[in-house]
Symmetry: C2
Subunit: 211 residues, 2 copies
Amino acid sequence: MPIELNVNVVIFSLCEDALQVLLAPKAGQIWALPEKSVAADESLESAALGAFSRLAHSPEIYLEQLYTYGDPERIPGQRAVSVVYFALIPLDARGAQLENMQWQRLDKLPGLAYDHAEMISYALRRLRYKLEYSAVGFELLPDEFTLSELQHTYEIILGEKLDKRNFRRRILEAGIIEATPHRRSGDGRPAQLYRYRPDAVAEVKARRLFP
Amino acid sequence: MPIELNVNVVIFSLCEDALQVLLAPKAGQIWALPEKSVAADESLESAALGAFSRLAHSPEIYLEQLYTYGDPERIPGQRAVSVVYFALIPLDARGAQLENMQWQRLDKLPGLAYDHAEMISYALRRLRYKLEYSAVGFELLPDEFTLSELQHTYEIILGEKLDKRNFRRRILEAGIIEATPHRRSGDGRPAQLYRYRPDAVAEVKARRLFP
DNA sequence: AGAATAGTGTCTCTCAGACATTATTTG
DNA sequence: CAAATAATGTCTGAGAGACACTATTCT
């Protein structure tokens, strides 16, 4: 029994007021994460990109290796090792998905194949964790966004309300975004649009347990 | 050309005043990380344990999956995917190593095969990082240790001097160690021995980038 | 007595977190 | 002018970081 090597990708996107994951139908009511077998001449990362888009690398896509699952019992009847990636794509960059994959809300997930539920919950933990010390949140937003939208993104991912004035003060002091010349009109007073400064320091020093 | 799957392990230990890594001789002056091919009925983790000790799982050993390297070009002439683990073992738990592996100081590494230097430097980054928000430092010390030894461990790994009073205050307030009834006599005044409290909260909340 | 290491307390300054009102636009 | 959303500043308390001397043991 040879060992089969493939990749899975947990792709997050933000729609309205919930996080969503891209899933492919499997059998019955069971869904699965996008998956691809790794070809002999292909890197793991490009296999991961190929798993959810034949359009391959949009350079926009945030992709990061998450974990490799390789328990002999994880899939009945075969020995498969899966390198799992997680990806973030902004709502406006969602193209036409191939096959019959669908976006599903994280809070209303259907039944999932094998250990895919575990993969998703680990990816979510990692996303939340990264949000606390890096600027990964911008990967889910369009190029220009208002401060309210940004705060909303954080609130959805973290699952808690944040204080508006503290949020604005800290993110502006951090210097990782800058105002654009544009404003967005909507229901009330128009909002200043900001963009991410890619040259900004992307990580903040974690608080040490010991000095 | 089939894809070969194996594991490598970056094993750290602390000797005297330097971090060391366990290496196996390869060819000429070239050394390599302990490696093992993954058997069809074996988990990745037990393969990793098997890579550096046929005595397999001492339950003591801290083992964590690090990253999976799978670039098609990383090893000339074959396609090998390596799942890399990193391990920490205390000085007093070093048994007799099999084969002709040797402990080498991190600051005086010999030439390394393939991408193994990259694996080690990534493992070190992760170790330093984890040290800042978790209690992983104890994995390199014997069961009982003095506060000076603990501080020394931190200083070696982080590569910087720490303030004695701040260190003691914070680690004691954190409640993750407790005094034992023993003291250690040495050159000057005997020191109180402490032990790690496994029931303690092992992680400290990271400082958020945003509130 | 001297050498060596263990052990201890205070102050300052920064920053996280709580909190309510005014400003601008549209219909 | 009413409804909707944007924008803004202050105070307090906790904790990080800097800093120097006393205590105990051994030879």
